[in-house]
Symmetry: C3
Subunit: 334 residues, 3 copies
C-alpha cells in the first residue's frame, strides 16, 4: 500500500527530513533501494552504505542523519520504526470470513463468524476459535482448545489438545503445540508411559516458529507468557515456564520444568537442562546451555567456535594431557 | 474415571495406608493436590513437600510413608505405579470405529473394522492398518506399510513408505518415518542421489515424538526394537539399529548405520556419529556425542555447561595458549 | 525393473568382467547379496567382505577387481555408478497426471497437465506447478510460488509463499520453505515483529530433507543454488545464500544472512552464525560451528567427542583451574 513520507512520519512519530509528498511503495536494503523504497539503518556495520543509498527515505537515528543524502525519518529505535512502517506498507492479507468446504469442524466446536478456516483444516471437539482468526490449510486444532482473537495458524500447524492461546499469536507451519511430554518410568519389563495430562497456556502476542515443538504439561501447564518469541525447530519440554518477552532463536532446546524469566534471549542452538530456574534478563550465547540455576542477569556461554581442523586436533591432544601437565608443574614446584 | 483408593491398591498391587473408600478423580503435584487428587513422590528432591500435601493419596516408597499425613499407596516404584494409576483415571479417548468421509483410502489398502481413520487422513496402496488403530487428522500413511493393532498416529504424522510397525506404538504430530536417507555420491557434475530402497522396521510399544525424523534404510532396514522411546525433534539416520528399551531425549541425532544396544539413554541434544557400535546400558549426557565404538556400559559426556561470558572468554584464551604453556613448562624442566 | 549386466555396463560406461546375460533384479550389501543382486564396494572399510560376496555383480574400482569372485562392473566412481544403476533398477513410481478430487487448487493457480496433485493437497493463488511434478498428499503450496518441471513434494510438505523452485527438486515430508524469518525489534513494550517480505529462490536439482525449515528473506531472497543437498531437521535463516553443490547433514543450522560457497560440506549438527562469509570447499565437522568469515578452504572443527563421565569431570575441573596453573608457571619462571 503506497504511503507518503509525511504520513509515515506522522503515524509513527518520526521527524522527517525531506519532502513529505514522496511516496514509498516497497522496502529494500540500503544498497538495493530505489526511489520508491523505504530503507533503514539500525546497525553501525551498515553505516558505510548510507551515503550511496538511492532509497526514497531511510529510517535512522538522529546521529546518522548527516550522512544521509536522501530523505531521512529520524527515530530513536530505527529498527522497530522500520518494522511498523513496513507492516503499514505491506499489510497482512485479509482472508474472507468463512469455513472452506473441505475443512472439518467438530460439532461442539465454536468458530467466530469473522474467522477464516482454510482448506483441509480440522477443528476438534469443544474448541473455540476467536474473531478474526486465520486457520491455514492443513492445520489441525484438536480437542478442548481455546483460541482468542486475531491469531494466525499459517498452514499445517498442529495444536494437539488442551491448549489455550491468547490474542494475536502466530504459529508457523509444522509447529506442534501440546504434544505429550517425554515421561517414562523404567520397570524391569521396560518403559511405562506416564500420562501427560496438563495443557499449554500461551499469552498474547506470542510467535512460534516452523517445526517447533511445545509439549503439554505432565500435570499442570506448560506456560508461555505474553510476547514470547520462539524461532524454528525449538523444543520446549513439559511444564516449562517462559516469562514475558523472552526470545529463543532457532534450534534452542529447553528441558522439562525449567523456569525462564522475562526478557531472556537464547541464541541459535542454545538451551537449558530441566528443573532449573533462570532469572530475568539472561542471555545465552550460541550453542551454549545452562545446567544450573542462574540468579545473575548477563551473558552466559560455553562454546568453542570451529578452528582449522589440524590446530584443533593439537588443542584437543593438549587438553587431554592437562592432567600430566599439572603433575609436571607440581614436580617443578617441589 | 473416578476410582477408589481400595480399587487402585488392588489393581496395581500396592499396600494402602488409609481409607479404601476415598475416591480420586484427578492427579496433581504434591503442592497443588486437593482432596480428590492422586499425587506421587518419586524423587527425593520433592520430599519436603510431602508433609503439607492435601492430596487424597500419595503413591510413595515405604520409607516415605511415615512423613505422609494423608493416605499412602506404597510401591517399590512409585513413578511407574503412579503412571499406571493415572492411565486408569484418565483412559485414552475411545474413537468410534470407521473412516471419516474426508479421508482418502487407496483401493488396495486394508483397514481393520475397528480402526478409526480421522478427517483428512490418507492411507496408501497395499498398506494395512490393524485393529483398534487411531489414525489422526491429516496423517499420511504411504504405500507398502503394515501397522499392527492398537497404534495411535496423533495427527499430521507422515509414514512415508515401506514401514512396518508393531503393536501399541504411538506417533506424535509431525513425526516423519521412512523418509529418504541422506545418500549422495559426488561427481564432477555435482551430487548424484543414491536411491534409498530399504524400509523401517519398528517393534511393539515404541513411541516417537513430535517432528522427529526416522529415515528408511539405503539398502535393508532402519530398525527400532520393542519399547524404544524417542522424544521430539530427534533425527535417526538410514540403517540405524536401536535396541530394546533404549530412550532418546529431545534433539538427539544418530547418524547412519550406527548400532545402539539395549536400555541406553541419550539425554537432550546428545548423539552419535555414523557407523559405530554402542553396547547395552550406555548413558550419553546432555549435548554430548559418541564418536567411536563404545564397549563399556556407563555414562559418557563431553560438554561444558555455560559460564559467565567474561570468565568463559578468559578460559578460551587460556585454552588457546595451552601449547605455549606446555613450552614454558618444558623450558622450566630443562 | 530387471536389467542385464551387459546393459548396465553399456548404459553407465563400465567395463564388465563377467557374463553380460546375467540379470539383476535388486540391490544388496556385499554380505546380504544373492545371485540376483547388484552390490558395490566404495569404501575400503568394506573390502574384506568382497571375496565372500554372493552378489550377481559388484560395482567397484579396477584395483579391487582382483579380489572379486563374482562379476565386476568397473568404475572410477563406484558409489555414483551404483547410484545410477540402482535408480535404473528401481525407477521412481510414475503417478498418473491429474488432480485428486480432495485437493484444493486456487482459482488463479496454474497446474501443468502432466502434474499429479495428490489427496488433500492445496495449491495457492497465482502459483504455478510445472510439467511432471508430483505434489504428494497433504502438501500445501501457498500463494505466489513457481515450481519448475519434475519436482517432487513427497507428502505433508509446506511451501509457504513467494518461493521459486527450479527443476527436479525433491522436498521430503514436513519440510517448510518460506516461513517467516526471526525478525524482532525490541521496544520498551516488548518485541515488534519485523515483516518478512522476501522470498526463497531454489535452483535445479536441490533436495531438502524431512522437517527442515528454510525461512524467506526479510528483504530480498534466501537462495539455494543448483545441486544443494540438505538433510533432515536443518534450519536455514532468512537471507542465507548457499552455493552450488553444498551439502548440509542433519540438524545443521545456518543463521541469517550468512553466505556459503560452493561444494561446502557441513556434517551432522554443524552450523554457522549469522552475517558471515564462508568460501568454497569448506568442511565443517560434526557439531562444530563457524563464528567468523572463512577464507581458506579446508576442514574446521571444535567439538569434543564424549568421554567416560568420570574422566571428563576431572578434565573439566582441570580446565577450570587453567588460570591457576598459568599463575603457578609464572611463579616458577620468576
Amino acid at each position: 500500500m503506497p504511503i507518503s513520507l509525511g504520513e509515515l512520519a506522522a503515524r509513527f512519530g518520526c521527524e522527517l527530513i525531506g519532502d513529505p509528498d514522496v511516496i514509498v511503495k516497497g522496502v529494500a536494503s540500503l544498497q538495493n533501494a530505489n526511489a520508491e523504497s523505504l530503507s533503514f539503518l539500525a546497525s553501525p556495520s551498515y553505516k558505510s552504505l548510507l551515503p550511496s543509498s538511492k532509497a526514497a527515505a531511510v529510517v535512522l537515528r538522529a546521529d546518522d542523519a548527516g550522512a544521509c543524502r536522501v530523505a531521512a525519518l529520524v527515530s530513536d529505535n530505527p529498527y522497530a520504526t522500520y518494522a511498523r512502517m513496513a507492516a503499514a506498507i505491506f499489510p497482512e492479507t485479509i482472508h474472507e470470513p468463512g469455513v472452506h468446504p473441505s475443512a472439518t469442524i467438530a460439532s461442539s466446536a465454536q468458530v467466530a463468524d469473522s474467522a477464516h478456516i482454510a482448506a483441509q483444516a480440522c477443528i476438534g471437539e469443544r474448541t473455540s476459535i476467536g474473531e478474526g482468526c486465520y486457520v491455514g490449510p492443513g492445520t489441525v486444532i484438536g480437542d478442548d482448545c481455546a483460541v482468542a482473537d486475531d491469531c494466525r495458524f499459517i498452514s499445517n500447524v498442529t495444536i494437539v489438545k488442551r491448549v489455550r492461546i491468547g490474542a494475536r499469536c502466530i504459529f508457523h507451519p509444522g509447529a506442534v503445540i501440546g504434544s505429550d511430554g517425554f515421561g517414562n518410568a523404567m520397570t524391569p519389563e521396560g518403559w511405562v508411559k506416564v500420562p501427560q495430562l496438563g495443557g499449554v497456556l500461551i499469552g498474547d502476542d506470542v510467535e512460534v516458529g516452523a517445526n517447533t515443538t511445545i509439549d503439554c504439561g505432565a500435570i499442570g501447564d506448560t506456560v508461555l507468557e505474553n510476547g514470547v518469541r520462539i524461532d524454528n525447530l525449538c523444543q520446549i519440554g513439559h511444564n516449562v515456564y517462559i516469562g514475558e518477552h523472552t526470545a529463543l532463536a532457532g534450534m534452542t532446546g529447553i528441558a522439562g520444568s525449567t523456569v525462564i524469566g522475562k526478557r531472556c534471549m537464547f541464541a541459535g542452538g542454545a538451551g537449558a537442562v530441566g528443573h532449573i530456574n533462570i532469572c530475568d534478563d539472561v542471555i545465552v550465547m550460541a550453542r551454549s546451555y545452562l545446567s544450573k540455576d542462574v540468579t545473575e542477569p548477563g551473558a552466559y556461554v560455553a562454546s568453542f567456535p570451529a578452528d582449522n581442523a589440524k590446530l584443533w586436533t593439537k588443542q584437543v591432544a593438549r587438553f587431554r594431557r592437562l592432567g600430566a601437565l599439572i603433575e609436571r608443574v607440581k614436580k617443578l614446584e617441589k
